[in-house]
Amino acid sequence: MSLFWGSSLSMLRYTLCSKGWTLRHSSRLLNPCRNFSTDVRKYAATHEWIKVEDDVGTVGISKHAAEELGEVVYVDLPEKGLDLEAKSTFGAVESVKAASDVYSPVSGQVLDINSKLQEDPSLINKDSLGEGWLIKLKIQNPKELDQLMDEAAYLKTTQEKSSH
């Protein structure tokens, strides 16, 4: 009997362990701060969204902002490697005669830019939450994400503004 319990416990431990190791990346177990992900988009008051996977944040502009801009004709993006501070401007989206600055929701280094936008800036109008993303950032301080709004809170701010 005791033998049976012993073996089943160790088996249980083994399965838990193996699941843990396969489902999650090892470094996250060792140091939970190092690898951070959010399942949902977070929004800045300046109308940008960010979605984080393994410390890499993808940044774009909200659907509301894309609708307000109208037809996008050019997107000015930074060079890879540039260090951005939270709330600093990293480029501009030009729609009919208007250049609108875009801001980094958090601090980080530019890992990648959406080069498809050079050929087809209207991707922002078609799919601002997907194909029309702007840059990918190496997140410096995951805590900054806590200062951003979730989708519901962001949508509320846009409704307040349009009622003015």
């Binding site: 008051a45 004709v73 060079e79 401007t89 005669k97 609108s100 600055d101 050079q118 003015h164």
Partner: protein, 327 residues
């Protein structure tokens, strides 16, 4: 609370820097007027070689400037007044300023202008004012050019791009319009009178009582004594890095002719005006080692500045010096 100023400087870079200063460091709504000496101003994301007749500007002393707002290329001189409405982003509205200028011109001068779908002001179906916008997190502006008695010959000449260079780019393109001076409709007009009328219209839309005093002057003339923020922005806007280096990427095709044949080069020029790639074609055939030498010589070259033509002259001279080894 609203402020209204007319700047004393007629330098395009100083005035654009002052406008940026009012956008960044003020909370109040500001109506700003300024006139510039002859200059061509491209939109933030435009290619100068594609929009501007650089040679004409150089030989006639016109400034070439890049502004921070979007839109197309425009010509300024002292017969054109720039009107800029700087507000909070919340109050920003794409047509408010145009309606205000339209009312001022209709009521004060009996000029039947109308606002077009592209947010221009039109008179007798010709454009008298164009619009551009800049939107930042907290603040935004709408600025417009109003042609009163500008030199339309210079306007026409300076906005014709050079046919010599073949440029492919995704940069914002200007839409060409037939233009008209207000004075062609009314006879002589004073720019200051127009500004007073626009100011009055704007105040009466926003305040119950229109202040009595005249349009105030904002002294942004003295170099070295300006607010340091204006001075810094002035230097930046006046720098080759901003004017020539911040434009969008493009491909430049050039044909070089030699006694033995020709070379057709397509240069990939990225932001910063640096050549990052080159494609070489020649019906005469080019040996591989020469192809490599050309590539090495051209890649990394920075074409910053107006002496673009000279740089190509340098490249051409280099070819002539090096190519005799070909045979």
């Amino acid at each position: 609370m609203c402020l209204c100023y007319f700047t004393t400087s007629t330098n395009v870079f100083k005035n654009l820097a002052t406008e940026e200063f009012f956008l960044k460091y003020f909370e109040k709504n500001i109506l700003l007027f300024y006139c510039n000496t002859p200059s061509v101003v491209v939109g933030r994301n435009q290619n100068i070689l594609k929009e501007v007749n650089v040679e004409f500007c150089d030989s006639n002393g016109l400034h070439i400037a890049r502004r921070r707002s979007g839109g197309g290329c425009v010509y300024h001189d002292l017969g054109n007044v720039n009107v800029s409405l700087i507000t909070s982003r919340r109050q920003f509205n794409k047509t408010q300023l145009l309606e205000c200028i339209k009312n001022a011109l209709q009521r004060g001068f009996h000029i039947p202008v109308r606002v077009s779908e592209r947010n221009d002001l039109r008179l007798l179906d010709r454009k008298v004012a164009g619009s551009a916008y800049r939107i930042t997190a907290e603040r935004a502006y709408h600025h417009t050019t109003l042609l009163v008695h500008a030199d339309l010959w210079k306007l026409e000449e300076s906005l014709h791009h050079s046919e010599k260079l073949a440029i492919e780019t995704k940069a914002t393109q200007s839409i060409r319009s037939k233009v008209l001076n207000l004075t062609e409709y009314t006879g002589p007009l004073n720019i200051m009178d127009i500004c007073r009328a626009i100011r009055k219209e704007w105040y009466s839309q926003n305040l119950q009582v229109v202040p009595e005093e005249d349009v105030k002057l904002f002294d942004n003339e003295p170099t070295g004594q300006l607010f340091s923020e204006i001075e810094k922005e002035y230097k930046y806007l006046n720098s080759i890095q901003w004017i020539w280096g911040e434009g969008p990427a493009y491909n430049l095709r050039c044909h070089l002719f030699f006694r033995w044949g020709y070379i057709d080069m397509s240069l990939r020029v990225e932001k910063g005006n640096r050549i990052v790639g080159v494609e070489i074609h020649s019906a005469s055939g080019i040996p591989l080692h020469l192809r490599q030498i050309i590539t090495q010589a051209v890649i990394g070259l920075s074409c910053l500045g107006k002496n673009y033509g000279e740089q190509f002259q340098d490249i051409a001279t280099w070819f002539l010096r090096n190519l005799p080894t070909l045979s």
